[in-house]
C-alpha cells in the first residue's frame, strides 16, 4: 500500500503547490472578474465528486451481484468522498453565484439534481451508521440509485435552459484559463484517489480488527 501512495502523494502535492500560482496568473474573466476564480476549485471538486460517486456505484454493484465484501469497503470510501467533495462544490457554487447571479441558490435543474445526488450519499452514510448489521446490502442498492443520478446531473444542464453554464464551457476555455483549470482538475482528481486509498485502508484495518476479535473468540 505504501508504494502506491508515494507517487500519488507527490503528484497531488505538486499539483496543489502549483495550482494557486496558476490560478493567480490566470486572466480575469471579462464579465465576472475576480469571483470567477472560484471556478478553478468549484468545477474540479464536482469532478472529484462524480469520480467518487461512480467508484461507489461500481463497487456497490460488484459487492451486490458478486457478493465480494472487499468492494463494499471501497463503496463506503467512495460514498464518504462523494459527500466531502459534494460539500465543497455545494458551498463554493453559491459563493460564486452570489456575485455572478446575485443570489445564493437557484432552483434550476443542474443545481437541484446535484443537491439531490449529494443527499443520496448523505442518506447512504446515515443508513450505514444507524441501519444496524444488515444495512450493507441496502446501502449498496442506494448507491446504485445514486449512481444512476450521475449522468442525469451531467445532462440536465443541456436538456433544460439553466442559468448554470453549459458543460461545453470547459472545452472552450481560452488557453490561459485552460492551463490552471487542468492543473486544478489534476490536483483534485489525484487528491480524490489518494483519499480513497487512505479511506479504503482504514476500512481494511477495521475488517482486520473484526477478524482478530473473531479469532479471539475461538
Amino acid at each position: 500500500m505504501k508504494k502506491r501512495f508515494a507517487p500519488l502523494l507527490i503528484l497531488t502535492a505538486a499539483a496543489f503547490a502549483y495550482a494557486p500560482l496558476a490560478i493567480q496568473r490566470a486572466p480575469y474573466e471579462s464579465t465576472m472578474g475576480l469571483v470567477q476564480k472560484i471556478f478553478y476549485f468549484h468545477v474540479p471538486s464536482w469532478m472529484a465528486m462524480f469520480l467518487a460517486a461512480t467508484v461507489c456505484g461500481i463497487a456497490s454493484a460488484i459487492f451486490l451481484f458478486a457478493g465480494r465484501k472487499s468492494y463494499d469497503r471501497i463503496a463506503v470510501a467512495g460514498a464518504e468522498l462523494s459527500v466531502v467533495f459534494g460539500l465543497i462544490g455545494l458551498i463554493t457554487g453559491p459563493l460564486w453565484g452570489r456575485k455572478a447571479w446575485g443570489v445564493w441558490w437557484q432552483w434550476d435543474a443542474r443545481l437541484t439534481s446535484a443537491l439531490v445526488m449529494w443527499l443520496i450519499f448523505v442518506a447512504y452514510l446515515l443508513l450505514r451508521k444507524y441501519g444496524g448489521s444488515g444495512s450493507e446490502k441496502l446501502s449498496a442498492v442506494l448507491a446504485l440509485f445514486g449512481m444512476a443520478n450521475v449522468p442525469f446531473v451531467y445532462l440536465s444542464v443541456n436538456i433544460w435552459r439553466t442559468v448554470h453554464p453549459k458543460t461545453s464551457v470547459v472545452m472552450t476555455l481560452e488557453p490561459d484559463m485552460g492551463r490552471p483549470f487542468l492543473v486544478c482538475a489534476l490536483a483534485f482528481v489525484s487528491l480524490c484517489a489518494l483519499m480513497l486509498l487512505t479511506r479504503v485502508q482504514l476500512e481494511n484495518r477495521r475488517a482486520e480488527l473484526d477478524e482478530l476479535f473473531l479469532a479471539l473468540e475461538d
Binding site: A123, G132, F145
Partner: protein, 247 residues
C-alpha cells in the same frame, strides 16, 4: 385423525415432486391478490393512509389561505406532497405487517422468483395509493379550485406515472429495511432523495395543467420524464431485489 396409509419404504417424497413453477405474472398476481384480500379484510392501512392524506391536505390548505381564498398555484404541490407522505406511511405499514408475522420470510422460502414477489408487492401498494389519490385529488380540486376535470386523462397519467416511480423505489427499500434497526425513520430518509426528481416532475407537470393557459406540450414533456424515471427505477429495482434480499 385418520392417519394416511404409510407407504412402506417407497420414495413417495421423490415421485410427487411439484409441477413446474408458476409463471412470473401468475406469481405476482397471487401475491397482489393476497395483499388485497388482507387489506380488504382489515382495511387498516387504507383508512389510516386516507385520513393522513386528507389531514395533510387540510394542513397545507390552511397554511396557504389568503383572505379566505386558498392560493391557486399551490394545489399541485400540495397534492403531490400528500401523495408522497401518505405513500411513505402506506409502505411502512404494509411491510410492518409482513415483519411482525415474519411472512415475507416464508414467501422467500418458496420457489417463487424474487422479482415476481417485488412486482406483486408493488402492485398491492399501487392499488392502495390509487384509492388514496382517487379521494385526495377531488378534495384538492374542491379546496383549491384546481381545474382537475379539464385534462383529467393527462392528470391521471401524470399521477399514475409519478406514483409508480415513487412506489417502485419505496417497495424496494421498505422490503429491505425489514431487518434494519430504526427503519421507520430510515425509510423517508432513503426514499425522498431518490424520488425528489419524480416528485418535481409530477408537481411541475400537474402545475402546468392547473394554471390558466394550459401548456399541454409541457405537461406531456413532464409525463415523458416521469415515464423515463419509472423505467429506470423499476428495472434497477428488479435487478437488485434478488441479491439485496439475501442475508
Amino acid at each position: 385423525m385418520a392417519s394416511e396409509s404409510v407407504v412402506a419404504s417407497g420414495d413417495r417424497a421423490m415421485r410427487s415432486a411439484p409441477a413446474a413453477r408458476s409463471s412470473f405474472l401468475a406469481t405476482a398476481w397471487l401475491i397482489t391478490r393476497k395483499d388485497l384480500v388482507i387489506e380488504f379484510r382489515s382495511r387498516e392501512v387504507v383508512y389510516t393512509t386516507l385520513f393522513f392524506a386528507v389531514s395533510c391536505v387540510l394542513v397545507f390548505a390552511f397554511s396557504f389561505v389568503k383572505e379566505g381564498v386558498a392560493a391557486q398555484d399551490a394545489a399541485a404541490g400540495i397534492l403531490w406532497i400528500a401523495i408522497a407522505f401518505s405513500g411513505t406511511l402506506a409502505l411502512g405499514r404494509a411491510f410492518e405487517r409482513e415483519r411482525q408475522n415474519d411472512t415475507l420470510r416464508a414467501l422467500m422460502l418458496t420457489p417463487v422468483d424474487r422479482p415476481a414477489v417485488y412486482i406483486g408487492k408493488l402492485a398491492g401498494v399501487l392499488a392502495l395509493l390509487a384509492v388514496v389519490e382517487a379521494i385526495v385529488t377531488p378534495l384538492v380540486a374542491l379546496m383549491f379550485g384546481a381545474p382537475v376535470l379539464d385534462h383529467a386523462l393527462l392528470l391521471a397519467a401524470l399521477l399514475a406515472a409519478g406514483t409508480i416511480g415513487f412506489a417502485a423505489v419505496g417497495t424496494l427499500f421498505a422490503a429491505m429495511l425489514i431487518r434494519a434497526r430504526s427503519r421507520d425513520v430510515l425509510l423517508p430518509i432513503l426514499l425522498y432523495p431518490i424520488t425528489i426528481p419524480v416528485i418535481i416532475a409530477g408537481v411541475r407537470g400537474t402545475g402546468v395543467l392547473f394554471q390558466a393557459d394550459v401548456d399541454l406540450p409541457m405537461a406531456r414533456l413532464w409525463l415523458s420524464i416521469l415515464v423515463f424515471f419509472d423505467l429506470v427505477f423499476v428495472t434497477l429495482a428488479l435487478w437488485t431485489f434478488e441479491p439485496a434480499m439475501k442475508e
